[in-house]
Symmetry: C2
Subunit: 406 residues, 2 copies
């Protein structure tokens, strides 16, 4: 008796090794800093200047020699002579001596001998006489040179994913452009004779295409340039043509549908005709029927047609590949939560388990919501997923687990 | 004795009330579903069709009457007659009777009388004879009508922020366009005589503009259309002109710098000349020197120049306003963590405290990283922030708190 079926499944680790032998790292481009948010940094960045690069006032008030203020209070005011007024962006012309002060605004440079700033709220001004009601200690309201960033220090490492806060630090250094990794070009199509585009009238036996939307939008969220080819019929010639026509303009081809074991499975055949199939089936659940192929030295990655399987493979397989191509690493934000019920998983397969997060008294609960790999709503109702490794068989109720947020 | 200073600070709640009296809700636009990721849904959406809208096979195999398989096993195979072969996207022409089956692929419609699908892995085919080694129960490998989505059910509510998973569900319904809220148009500039653009050579007393980068990129991450006006000199005429020239083309004007109490503070004066200042100073820390103004019926929002203050105000004040304008709500992702040290906060002021998350044994620790409101690195080193409400004075070491992720 011969049973039809997948051959030996590749583990996720094996799948990555095979893929990383095919895919090429993307290049580097110099981009205006204005367009680099969420991009991957292509080089280590060291500080060029101290921030601040001069001693400055943290407050609006008066630059003083702290010792001159000792003893001042609400009931016992003291006085100083104002010799200059300096505003942010302008260097003071004079220095102060004992008994003198300089009026100063927030961010303005301190005169050389000043060692503290009296806040304006505790002062009164009469012509060039300052009356004040408070003592300050040396260093009060003074921002020292390099207190935020020291020249020469490593700011961000190659592979870092830029965000507005990192870009703020880089702006303080006067960077107007940055070397970033190019984002991969991906051609995508959905296949399957039952799949129709949302602009088409629905007839019995057909279903609207879901994967184009979930996959293309997820790729774009991660910065990829996607050529969206829409729905390609589940037909050897159409699939072969779609791959062949687009492989030269893309870094990789991603497709979904038609990779199970039925009569309509032309995807494997198409890849075989154009190149070679390296893996058919990976040890993940859901999302087993993955095809890893090589055509003209490029990666062709076939995902299963089931929406949940296709989307879970995006997180377990595709996004890690995308970030690796950019010399970076795909990292999800993780939240610790308590599992709401016992989960039995399959030994030998990595399991992707969508969960909903619920606050319950003072605890965060992770509630599994997988309804079956055909149910797109299970993904929509979830906030993230648990990754259960291939050697884990049971997760117990009330166990604390890490939830990966989408 | 008269002390110069802010008047009574507005609480965050009061600030929102005043702002919401000025700002207008954005309109609604019909957008192609392809461009709606991260947009705010402008209407409740109910399911138009059942998903699936026909009974279909969850597996490649044979549609059978389950009762016909009872008793079959590896050692005792049974047989059925194959009367048709049906693939996904095509309706079967025949129905089955006792003793018959139809070959079927994943996703293909079931014949009327079939109530289970035998997986291909447990079968052998000899011409039109099926030999099989397994029993199936009624319902096995069958996806029932409406099991994922039921026609008429509420799918997503007005105000929901769309994501690839939601869009997958909407695709299953055949939506090719959606009514979404328009995103606000915001004109932004940084002001301050000490502030220079990153393309300029640095001289003593000046600092590079940081806020343009952090604020503009944060707004764009949240979908806003931003007119970036760059650096405007801290000069009454320039500021007045910048506001006056752009107020008609923007839903609101946002600016940073120059709102403290020094001699260079033309922002308040500019707003007064063009309209009115409603609030000067809000009860938050950092970020107190906020100006809320109304010019030609529109909101002018002045943020402090300190990078940490300006950016913390984005999270406490600006983003909540942006989402409210779109009839939605600004929500951060929250993580529960254990506070690494005691925090003393100021009664009467909401405090924004940046924290770094560190895994420590089995616990997630929130480590405060605020170095002072001038330090942009404290934001870059943090993963999120704690919001300490105005009535809380102390958070204890080892207390569990919610961290808002950026």
């Amino acid at each position: 008796m011969t049973k039809q079926g997948f051959g030996k499944l590749a583990s996720l680790k094996e799948a990555f090794e095979i893929i990383f032998r095919i895919v090429k790292k993307t290049g580097i481009e110099k981009a205006d800093i204005e367009s680099t948010n969420q991009r991957v940094l292509a080089e280590d960045i060291f500080a060029k200047i101290d921030v601040p690069h001069f001693r400055k006032s943290a407050m609006d008030g008066f630059a003083v020699i702290a010792e001159d203020t000792f003893g001042a209070s609400n009931t016992s005011p003291k006085e100083l002579r104002i010799i200059e007024s300096v505003t942010a962006g302008v260097m003071p012309e004079k220095d102060i001596k004992k008994g003198e002060c300089i009026e100063i605004t927030t961010g303005a440079p301190l005169p050389k001998s000043a060692n503290a700033v009296l806040m304006v709220e505790y002062t009164e001004k009469e012509d060039n006489k300052l009356i004040f009601y408070k003592t300050v200690a040396p260093g009060d309201n003074v921002i020292e040179i390099g207190s935020d960033v020291k020249s020469g220090q490593l700011l961000f490492e190659k592979g870092a994913i830029l965000n507005p806060r990192y870009l703020g630090v880089l702006s303080s250094q006067g960077f107007s452009s940055l070397n970033v990794k190019k984002t991969p070009n991906i051609a995508y199509f959905s296949s399957g004779n039952e799949i129709i585009d949302s602009h088409t009238k629905l007839v019995e036996g057909k279903v609207y295409d879901i994967n184009t939307r979930t996959i293309v939008d997820t790729l774009r969220e991660h910065g990829c340039k996607v050529l969206n080819l829409g729905v390609v019929g589940d037909d050897l010639e159409q699939i072969t043509q779609a791959i062949n026509k687009n492989i030269n303009n893309a870094d990789l081809i991603l497709l979904s549908g038609g990779s199970s074991l039925g009569g309509e499975d032309f995807m494997v055949e198409a890849v075989k005709q154009l190149g070679k199939v390296l893996v058919h089936g990976i040890a993940v659940k859901p999302g087993k029927p993955v095809i890893i192929g090589e055509v003209k030295g490029k990666l062709v990655l076939g995902l299963p047609g089931y929406p949940t399987s296709a989307l879970s493979n995006m997180y377990t397989l595709v996004l890690p590949v995308i970030y690796k191509m950019m010399d970076s690493e795909f990292k999800t934000r993780q939240v610790r939560a308590k599992l709401s019920r016992k989960i039995v998983s399959t030994i030998g397969r990595y399991e992707f388990l969508p969960v909903k997060l619920e606050k319950h008294q003072k605890e965060l609960l992770a509630v599994p919501v997988l309804k079956g790999s055909s149910a797109i709503t299970s993904m929509a109702e979830s906030d993230g997923y648990i990754g259960i490794d291939e050697n884990t068989e049971v997760l117990n109720k009330d166990e604390y687990i890490e939830v990966n947020l989408y």
